[in-house]
């Protein structure tokens, strides 16, 4: 009898201890919280993919090291799930990127999407898919087509879950136009030849810049559109030379632009070369990769922070943290914006107190925080980040020139670290090159 009661009391004790332990661990796990999954569809074999991936991971690590994100009463860490969309690779169908987006949502259980798809065409195609699943998505790299935010504006109810924290073709075209106008005033340049890649955003920028400059009295001598993966640019370059172009405006995000840079040097085309978002020219390795042929080339990695400057107190902090983490400087477009997007998301989740998509949209629309490339706020009508030339007022762009093997930010003047130089062999109409 005594034995039986001993067994019963032991069993009761074990069960009690079990219940207590389980409630304690459950409390602990509730306090620590399940990870918030950020699904990142990125073309990871290309600069605009791997740069974004590294930047997001850096931000995630920093936030998690500080205890994660406050969601209501719990703190939850971020977890980054990256899948390769391959959308920047020539010949890979857009359907590949769509499958990746859907896989991130359904299989990897992404709470939020961030990053791409990177190619404009793929990002546009993914809009309906993301809207269908009502997932908040922040575009941080690639996709510059104005059609993206225009579509959100035209059908807000359907696409309200989509945001773009990086620049767009219209803004970049405006920046290019203003940069050229500055060169006209200072050096008298007014003849330009345009070479762009046959993709939506590049064609749009070439078109907008050409029209803008023609209206302002420039002679637009020609616009050449090259297929993705083109390996020879000699005919276009010689056309520019024969027509006496002073500025060569190039917009190509495929790595083959390295060939164009080399040909420009070898053919001695007497122009000031200005490239927009152009991977091989943007990258810190551009100098070595082109054997120095990239000297005097101007490029834009879109947002400040992708090249060294003191745009905001956070810019160099990010720059150094990234360099320390990845043993390479931020390499180009999509890096500072992807890093900042994770912080913007953390801030919005904290304010929303929930991961509910509608509450997050409302919180993101009220964003107003300092970032690596200026103040981040979204246009509430179309969810496009608000741009500015002043980092205290909005997201600021950046244009640098390769000078003695270094990327020196030369525009806009608010964040410039040096002055633009005219390449040898180019004689500005207004006096000698400075």
């Amino acid at each position: 009898m005594r034995k039986k009661s001993l067994r019963i009391s032991s069993l009761i004790a074990v069960v009690t201890i079990g219940v207590v332990l389980s409630s304690v661990t459950s409390g602990l796990s509730q306090q620590k919280g399940q990870p918030i999954v950020i699904g990142a569809p990125l073309s990871t074999q290309y600069l605009y993919g791997w740069g974004a991936q590294r930047a997001m991971l850096l931000a995630v690590e920093e936030i998690n090291a500080k205890g994660g994100v406050q969601v209501g009463s719990a703190r939850r860490p971020f977890r980054l799930e990256v899948l390769d969309t391959r959308d920047l690779e020539p010949g890979v169908p857009l359907s590949e990127a769509m499958l990746v987006v859907e896989k991130l949502i359904l299989e990897r259980k992404a709470d939020i999407l961030m990053g791409g798809p990177v190619r404009s065409e793929a990002a546009l195609a993914a809009m309906d898919l993301i809207a269908k699943y009502k997932k908040v998505s922040i575009l941080t790299t690639g996709a510059l087509t104005p059609a993206y935010h225009q579509r959100i504006g035209e059908n807000y109810a359907k696409y309200k879950y989509l945001f773009r924290i990086t620049s767009q073709a219209g803004q970049l075209a405006k920046e290019a136009t203003d940069l050229f106008e500055g060169l006209k005033q200072e050096h008298g340049f007014d003849q330009i030849f345009i070479m762009v890649q046959d993709v939506a955003h590049a064609r749009a920028i070439g078109d907008i810049v050409g029209k803008n400059l023609a209206q302002k009295g420039w002679k637009v001598l020609g616009t050449e559109i090259y297929p993705t993966g083109a390996l020879d640019y000699s005919t276009g370059l010689l056309k520019a030379r024969d027509q006496k172009a002073q500025i060569l405006f190039v917009w190509m995000d495929h790595p083959e632009i390295a060939i164009l840079v080399k040909q420009w040097k070898e053919l001695k085309i007497p122009t000031l070369p200005i490239a927009g978002i152009s991977s091989a020219v943007e990258q810190p390795g551009g100098w070595a990769n082109t054997d120095g042929a990239v000297a005097n080339w101007v490029a834009s990695p879109a947002n400040a922070g992708n090249a060294p400057s003191n745009a905001t107190p956070l810019t160099m902090k990010f720059y150094q943290a990234y360099t320390k983490r990845w043993l390479v400087e931020p390499e180009g477009y999509g890096t500072s914006s992807s890093y900042s997007a994770v912080y913007v998301l953390a801030d919005a989740i904290r304010r929303a107190g929930s991961l509910d998509s509608d509450k997050l949209v409302a919180a993101l629309e009220k964003t107003g925080m300092d970032s690596v490339y200026g103040k981040i706020a979204f246009d509430p009508k179309n969810h496009q980040v608000i741009p500015s030339y002043n980092p205290k007022e909005g997201a600021v762009g950046t244009w640098f020139q390769w000078q003695e093997g270094k990327r020196v930010v030369i525009w806009p003047s608010t964040i410039a670290m040096g002055k633009i130089r005219i390449p040898p062999g180019v004689t500005p109409p207004k006096g000698e090159a400075k």
Binding site: Q45, Y226, G236, P255, A258, I259, L267, G285, N289
Partner: protein, 290 residues
């Protein structure tokens, strides 16, 4: 404009001929359409890059080793894969295409993408030809292209292996009766074809960088040149390269660069419709006459 079109048209044509010669030679001798041709071109570039940047070898030695390695790869493709499907053209195409695609996808998977994979020019400096600036590497490309065609002619007309190649190409069974081993010759033809495309890679790639995705472009342009010229004809390769090369340059100049790729594809289509054996090909000549 005209001098630059003439000069760069010639450079483009020689580039096409260089990249197509190996494909034509292999087919001419062994009747194997080597669809791994583009992948071998890319692999040759990466091999040279590796020998140069990882093993820090002399550039010329690195280039030579890369060509030898690719040549051995060509022979290995025959010895270990094609020999089992010899005489079945469709399977030969499937096997070589699969091997080429697998090689390119493996390169992509392991991160061999980006402009930092580039080879330095073998020759530096530039000259002015009738007011058209041309760099030394492109001039070297034309000279090497010419020398290669001449060497190939000497090889096939004045060496035992070259004569055996021609014998197999003319009548395989008669050649076998004379003691020429068909399998050895086929493996050698793959090896020489691969060496030729490897050499093309060493000469052409310093103009840009080693792009994994260029493998398919090289294959398409080589096929276009060989179909237009006649699959087994070296003379056909030269004439077709000039035709396609100049048409491409004129298309870029007067229609726009984004129509450039269509030229090669149109050349394939038009040739197959009007004269399937190509300009100098004999393969289907009788059927065409009938």
């Amino acid at each position: 404009m005209l001098p630059s079109l003439l000069v760069y048209g010639l450079i483009n044509s020689v580039t096409l001929a260089l990249t197509a010669l190996g494909f034509s030679l292999t087919y001419g001798i062994s009747r194997v359409a080597n669809f791994a041709h583009g992948a071998l071109y890319v692999l040759a570039g990466f091999s040279a890059w590796f020998f140069l940047n990882r093993f820090h070898l002399n550039y010329y030695l690195a280039a030579l080793l890369a060509v030898v390695l690719i040549s051995l790869t060509g022979a290995a493709i025959y010895r270990f894969a094609l020999i089992r499907v010899r005489g079945m053209p469709l399977l030969e195409i499937i096997v070589t295409f699969a091997l080429g695609t697998a090689a390119l996808e493996a390169l992509r998977y392991f991160g061999f993408l980006g402009s930092h994979y580039s080879l330095p020019p073998l020759f530096r400096g530039s000259v002015n030809l009738y007011g058209v600036p041309v760099d030394a590497q492109r001039i070297a490309l034309v000279v090497i292209g010419g020398l290669l065609v001449f060497t190939l002619w000497l090889f096939t007309h004045h060496t035992r292996i070259g004569l055996a190649f021609r014998a197999i190409a003319q009548d395989e069974q008669a050649a076998m009766m004379l003691g020429i081993d068909s399998d050895v010759m086929a493996a050698l033809s793959l090896a020489v074809g691969a060496a030729l495309v490897g050499l093309a890679a060493i000469v052409v790639l310093p103009l840009g960088y080693i792009a994994t995705e260029s493998g398919s472009n090289i294959l398409v342009s080589a096929i276009a040149v060989c179909i237009l010229g006649g699959l087994e004809s070296t003379a056909g390769v030269i004439v077709a390269s000039l035709l396609i090369g100049y048409t491409q340059i004129l298309t870029v100049a007067y229609l726009g660069p984004h129509y450039q790729m269509i030229v090669a594809l149109l050349a394939i289509l038009i040739t197959l419709i009007l004269k399937p054996s190509g300009l100098f090909g004999k393969q289907k000549e009788l059927e065409e006459r009938v």
